[in-house]
């Protein structure tokens, strides 16, 4: 036997909350995207642990799809951040306070 499932879940929960605090507290668009990555990663850990617990391969398949979604999300997200930077010359989300020029 290796570690109990609960300890893996605790590790994933800690990782997820680190990502969540990053998303809500950092004032930098790139760091916010990094926090989203941390959260998706924690979700992947939970899926892999669940696949081992219930001896079902579907959990590992889900992590593959999470990786695909993360890649798509980061491509579009970084392009949006770049667009914001080009318009305001700043990575601060507070610089996007006006609706239109």
């Amino acid at each position: 036997m290796i570690v109990p499932l609960e300890h893996v879940l605790l590790f994933a929960a800690a990782l997820f909350f680190i990502g969540l605090v990053t998303v809500v507290s950092r004032r930098n668009l790139i760091m916010i995207l990094l926090g989203v990555e941390v959260m998706l990663n924690a979700a992947g850990v939970v899926f892999v642990a669940a696949a081992l617990r219930w001896w079902d391969i579907a959990g590992q398949g889900m992590v593959l799809f999470i990786m695909g979604v993360a890649a798509a999300e980061i491509a579009v997200g970084l392009t949006l951040v770049f667009r914001v930077w080009r318009r305001t010359r700043s990575l601060n989300p507070d610089s996007l306070k006006t609706l239109k020029d």
């Binding site: 929960a13 680190i18 790139i30 990094l34 992590v63 593959l64 890649a71 980061i74 579009v76 080009r86």
Partner: protein, 198 residues
Amino acid sequence: MTLYAVLFYALAAVTLFCTLVAVTRRVLVHAVVWMVGSLLGTALIFLLLGAPLLAGFEVIIYAGAIMVLFLFAIMLMAQEPNEPPEVRSMVRRRLRARMFWPTVWALAGIIACMALISFDPTNTTPLTAGRVSPRALGAWVFGNAWPAVEIVSLLLFAALAGARYLGLPLVRSDHPEKMAGSLDMDQPPCAVNPEDQP
């Protein structure tokens, strides 16, 4: 405590430490480099939990592709100039005040999760060591979950097209005749904002 358990706890500690350091860096490149350490730790944990293919993908896609994409984005966007030291200390003090409530909520959340998960400490669920070969995972994914594969590939294509479209130069909305998508082929397809020119 078996060797697997020792390895797992060591890797979990390293991963959490790297992630914590990564999300608290002010220099974005440092944050990305620490994040690579965190992702490598997660990949090794995937390997311990019996997912060698996912461990490889974690290194290739996350630590390789996505983090390099972050690095390119950081290099593309100029950094704000450094503040003088007195301003920096003031910023740090304000940062500490700003981090207070999120940290409190995160600790409360972790403690709540801990209470939920280890409600009965004697009733832990042991995981038996196992391993899913890449061949079995591939057979399952393409045999049982092929609609999801198609959906993810469509999503990746949509992301590609969206990134291409959003990366176009900004269009001046007060020149409707020069909007992107106009059929006038003599003109460039979109008017370039003069601020974009170096």
